[in-house]
Amino acid sequence: MTEVQDVTLRDLDKRRDEILGHLGMAYEELAAKASARSLVGDEWAAWEELREIEFLRNG
C-alpha cells in the first residue's frame, strides 16, 4: 500500500527551512539561480522539492 503522509502548514514550513538550511541559501537566492538556469548539483533537487511545497501550500 502506498504511504500517505498528511502534512500541516507547519510541516511544510519546517521542511522548506530544512532544504534551504542544507543548501545555506535564502529562497530568493535559489529562485534567482533557477531563473537564470544556473542550478548545480543538489540545488536541482532542492528547487524541485521547494516547488512541490509551494504547490501544496498554494495550489
Binding site: 500517505v4 502534512v7 548545480v40 533537487a45 524541485e48
Partner: protein
C-alpha cells in the same frame, strides 16, 4: 497504467469524476498505488515503497519521499537516478481530479543534475503544455540560437521541445521504456507487459478525452465504421483548447 497521465491534463475520464474530498483522496491513493506497482514491476532494486503521497488539504504530490530520486542501475552499477513528481488537485469546478504538473527527470549521479526532463504543465503560459528539456552542449545549436537572438543560446536545456500537448503527450510508461530500451538501464525480467498494458490504458483514456473534445468528429468516424450514432439535443460543446494548445 495511467501514471502521470492518469490525468491527461485537464481532467481524468468520466469514471474518475469525484464528488467529495474523500473521493478525491481515494482516487489519488489508487493512482499512487498503480504508479508504485508500475515502478516495482519494471525497475529493479527500488526502495519499498518507491513512492509516497504527500497531502495537504485537496492537493497531493505523488513521488519518492523527501524529494528523493529513484536509483537506476546498468549492469548492477548505480549510474543514474530518476526523479518522478506528480502534482494533483481538484480542478477549477471542484469535480475532477486533475494533474497540475508532472516531471520525469533522468539525472546523472556524477553531478546530480538532469540529463533529460519531460515536463507537463496544465497551465504552461507561453511554453508548450508538454515538453522535453535536453541538457547538453552542441556548438552549432548555440551558434544558430545566438544568431537568432535567443536569450540563452549556450544552454540547450532552455529550449522547450514540444511533445504532443496535453492529449498526446508521453506517459510514464514511455519514459520507463526509454530508460530500459534506449539508455539500457537494468529492468525487471518481465517488465514489458506491465509497460504495454499501462500504455494501452493511458492511450484509451486519452482517446476518450479527445472524443469529449470533438464529439462530432468521433460520431462521423463511428458512422463511417457502420455504427448508428444519433446526436443528442442540445449538441455537446466542442472543446478545442486541448487540441489547439501546443
Amino acid at each position: 497504467m495511467g501514471s502521470l497521465g492518469r490525468a491527461p491534463g485537464d481532467r481524468v475520464p468520466s469514471e474518475r469524476i469525484t464528488k467529495t474530498t474523500r473521493d478525491l483522496h481515494q482516487q489519488v491513493e489508487e493512482f499512487g498505488q498503480e504508479t508504485a506497482e508500475l515502478l516495482c514491476s519494471t525497475l529493479p532494486r527500488l526502495p519499498d515503497p518507491p513512492i509516497r503521497i504527500l497531502r495537504y488539504e485537496d492537493r497531493s504530490i505523488i513521488g519518492p519521499a523527501d524529494g528523493k530520486s529513484l536509483p537506476l542501475y546498468a549492469g548492477g552499477q548505480h549510474l543514474a537516478d530518476m526523479k518522478l513528481s506528480i502534482a494533483c488537485q481538484l480542478d477549477s469546478v471542484g469535480k475532477y481530479l486533475a494533474v497540475d504538473e508532472s516531471t520525469f527527470n533522468l539525472l546523472a549521479i556524477l553531478d546530480r543534475a538532469p540529463v533529460l526532463r519531460i515536463h507537463y504543465l496544465r497551465d504552461p503560459g507561453t511554453r508548450p503544455t508538454a515538453h522535453v528539456h535536453m541538457h547538453g552542449h552542441r556548438g552549432a545549436l548555440s551558434h544558430l540560437l545566438s544568431q537568432a537572438g535567443h536569450d540563452s543560446p549556450h544552454d540547450m536545456s532552455s529550449l522547450h521541445i514540444p511533445v504532443g500537448g496535453s492529449r498526446f503527450r508521453p506517459c510514464l510508461e514511455d519514459f520507463i521504456q526509454f530508460l530500459i530500451c534506449e539508455c539500457r538501464f537494468d529492468a525487471q525480467p518481465d517488465w514489458r507487459p506491465h509497460v504495454e498494458a499501462g500504455r494501452e490504458r493511458w492511450r484509451r483514456r486519452q482517446a476518450a478525452a479527445v472524443v469529449r473534445d470533438v464529439p462530432e468528429e468521433a460520431a462521423r468516424v463511428l458512422r463511417d465504421l457502420g455504427y448508428t450514432v444519433e446526436a443528442p439535443d442540445p449538441l455537446p460543446a466542442t472543446q478545442l483548447k486541448a487540441l489547439r494548445n501546443w
